[in-house]
């Protein structure tokens, strides 16, 4: 076969090229006695250490500065980020990460700020914490905010700790919590950490939660409900207020998973929806980079009634000065060693200051515009299980491709050959073979059109040259990896250097 036949159209459009360097593992390089950073000369006498405490030298490879720089530069070239191309990963909001945010977080007096200094020495960072709390309260419609949680799931845990402390304070602890079947896995896992037994709420045939069903499950042993709105099908839960009223009537609380906030900034008022606690993912909605897995930040926003339960310390303003309030008897306590992922908070703060109110609202409008546009342009070739206006993401399935024995995974892998990061696949679980596309507002119309055309080409290839999909990706550093082998015989650390040589 010619190259055109083996790779299809992939090499004529974006695709990936050929400049991929091989690079061994760190400990397969280097030579004893090299060093990649300068250690200052000692200006003090050597001290004596009790010999029984002294260990042997750690078995790290010795590398020069050039070794280290080339190593990581090459590794980085095997990676794909938002700066490389479109990253339509549903539920993850892979929007552009502004460069100025990085600069602001690296401001020396801020990057070097020590968290244990007295308040009077840290007015700049405390003011930033206080102002960001205020901004996020404004944006969500809720009253008070803690910036401590280090990630979305950490925010959920904090929220569940608040639920638990609230019910305890009311004098009657509860043991169950309602969680829709469309929820992220973090929801039940977070609730379980607080001893709440997850009760699944089935979503209706239209992808929506049914208030009657919630009413039938909600009782006085149920702490409340955790819901994601817009939900993980990318649909707005239209009867959220009714659901919240049912839960409140039985003394329960409503937790809002704000993972999908990027759809509804300036549109949804969480308090009016009846939400009592909401977490935000600053690494989604507020443009801070995902870092290949983190760090994120997952602030929790609460109503006035729940404010006393927020984690301590809290940044407060007293006249012209900013202080840390520690002594709050109802607080759930501390969920982070210091003030959360402060560096991430600086980036989100910078984003909000850059965007302003109108910019943030516009971002949500355009995110929703992009998702609906993709939905409309692909629904004739990809099966759309819930055909209704979506929010910032749309969910297709591989039902139309089953005759050709092509799965969502195959289409996802084929997208890689065309230079796209695949969408989220096989989530939410309620859609068999789900493919969840979230373009975000960062992508312009031409790039979205190109993406749509590419997916249509792939659907065509599925019919005519299915092996192109089964064999994809072909142009990456590695091809499909044996995950079964990885799990059966886990190799989680490299061999000691001595055994290598």
């Amino acid at each position: 076969m010619s190259e055109q036949q083996t790779t299809g159209a992939a090499n004529t459009v974006l695709g990936t090229g050929g400049l991929i360097f091989n690079e061994p593992l760190l400990w397969e390089k280097g030579k004893k006695g090299r060093m990649g950073m300068s250690v200052p000369q000692s200006d003090v006498p050597a001290a004596t250490l009790d010999a029984t405490l002294e260990g042997t030298e750690v078995d790290f490879p010795d590398l020069s500065e050039v070794d280290v720089v080339r190593h990581y530069t090459r590794l980085s070239q095997w990676n794909f980020g938002v700066d490389s191309g479109m990253y339509p990963l549903g539920s993850c909001t892979m929007k552009y990460n502004p460069k100025t945010n990085e600069r602001q977080a690296a401001t020396p007096a801020i990057a070097l700020a020590h968290p244990m200094l007295e308040e009077g020495l840290s007015q700049g960072t405390l003011r930033l914490l206080y102002e960001l709390q205020e901004f996020l309260a404004t944006i969500t419609g809720l009253d008070a905010v803690s910036l401590q949680p280090a990630a979305g799931a950490h925010g959920e845990l904090t929220g569940m700790l608040i639920f638990h402390a609230y019910h305890e304070h009311k004098g009657h602890q509860r043991h169950k919590i309602l969680i829709p079947d469309t929820a992220h896995g973090t929801n039940p896992a977070s609730a379980a950490l607080c001893g709440y037994k997850a009760v699944a709420v089935k979503s209706g045939p239209d992808g929506m939660l049914d208030p009657e069903l919630v009413a039938s499950l909600m009782d006085e042993d149920t702490a409340g409900i955790m819901l994601t709105n817009p939900n993980t099908l990318g649909l707005f839960e239209e009867r959220v207020r009714e659901i919240a009223e049912i839960v409140h009537a039985k003394g329960g609380l409503v937790y809002g998973d704000g993972a999908n906030m990027n759809a509804v900034m300036g549109v949804m008022d969480a308090k009016k929806c009846g939400v009592d606690v909401l977490h935000l993912n600053l690494h989604k909605t507020f443009s801070t980079p995902h870092g290949g897995g983190g760090p994120g930040a997952g602030p929790v926003c609460v109503t006035k009634e729940l404010e006393p339960f927020l984690p301590v310390p809290r940044a407060v303003r007293k006249g012209d000065s900013y202080q840390l309030e520690e002594n709050l008897p109802l607080s759930v306590g501390r969920v982070h060693a210091f003030h959360g992922n402060f560096g991430v908070l600086v980036k989100a703060y910078s984003y909000i200051l850059t965007m302003g109110a109108e910019g943030l609202k516009r971002a949500s409008q355009l995110a929703v515009l992009n998702a609906n546009y993709i939905k409309e342009q692909l629904k004739d070739v990809l099966h759309l299980p819930y055909d209704r206006p979506c929010m910032h993401e749309c969910v297709f399935s591989d039902q139309n491709q089953q005759a050709e024995k092509i799965s969502t995974l195959d289409m996802a892998k084929r997208l890689i050959d065309y230079g796209y990061h695949p969408p989220t696949i096989y989530f939410p679980l309620v859609v068999h073979g789900a493919m969840m596309i979230e373009p975000t507002e960062s992508e312009c119309k031409e790039d979205i059109d190109q993406f749509i055309a590419t997916l249509r080409t792939i659907v065509q290839e599925a019919k005519e040259q299915p092996d192109l999909l089964h064999e994809a990706p072909q142009r990456t550093k590695v091809r499909r990896l044996d995950e079964v082998q990885a799990a059966r015989c886990p190799c989680l650390v490299g061999l000691p250097s001595a055994e290598d040589k």
Binding site: Y426, E483, V484, A486, A487, R488
Partner: protein, 131 residues
């Protein structure tokens, strides 16, 4: 994945709604998972076994099977005490994929042997799978 009529379903076994099987071996019963279960789960990468001496009531969770991206609980088809577990599965969980009826998971000394008669016969189990 296999079509329903490609599945192997030996006649002498009893089957559960959750796709376990039980087979009488003298005074005890061996327990495993059906061809359908292993096929649905795909490549099995890990088996969590109960401990010898553990006692379970029929339907209790007594172990788990894991594939790369799924976890499936194992429920005992009969009440009783575990008298043996198939240690070979610890290092070679793929034996279940290769031979789901040879690769028994645990052996149970039943406290109510008559429970075996309440399990599905092969034909009835097949009907259930066909829906």
């Amino acid at each position: 994945m296999k079509e329903i009529d490609e599945l192997l379903l030996p006649e002498d076994l009893g089957y559960t709604d959750d796709h376990e099987w039980a087979q009488k071996t003298g005074e005890t019963f061996r327990v495993g998972v059906s061809d359908y279960a292993q096929d649905q789960l795909g490549d099995i990468v890990f088996v969590e076994l109960p401990e010898v001496g553990d006692s379970f009531a029929k339907g209790d969770e007594c172990g788990t099977l894991e594939s790369v991206k799924a976890v499936s609980e194992l429920y005992t088809p009969l009440s009783g005490e575990v008298v043996a577990v198939n240690e070979a599965l610890t290092d070679n969980p793929e034996l279940i994929n290769e031979d789901p009826y040879g690769a028994w998971i645990l052996e149970i000394k039943p406290s109510a042997p008559a429970e075996f008669d309440t399990l599905h016969k092969a034909a009835a189990y097949l009907e259930m799978l066909k829906g």
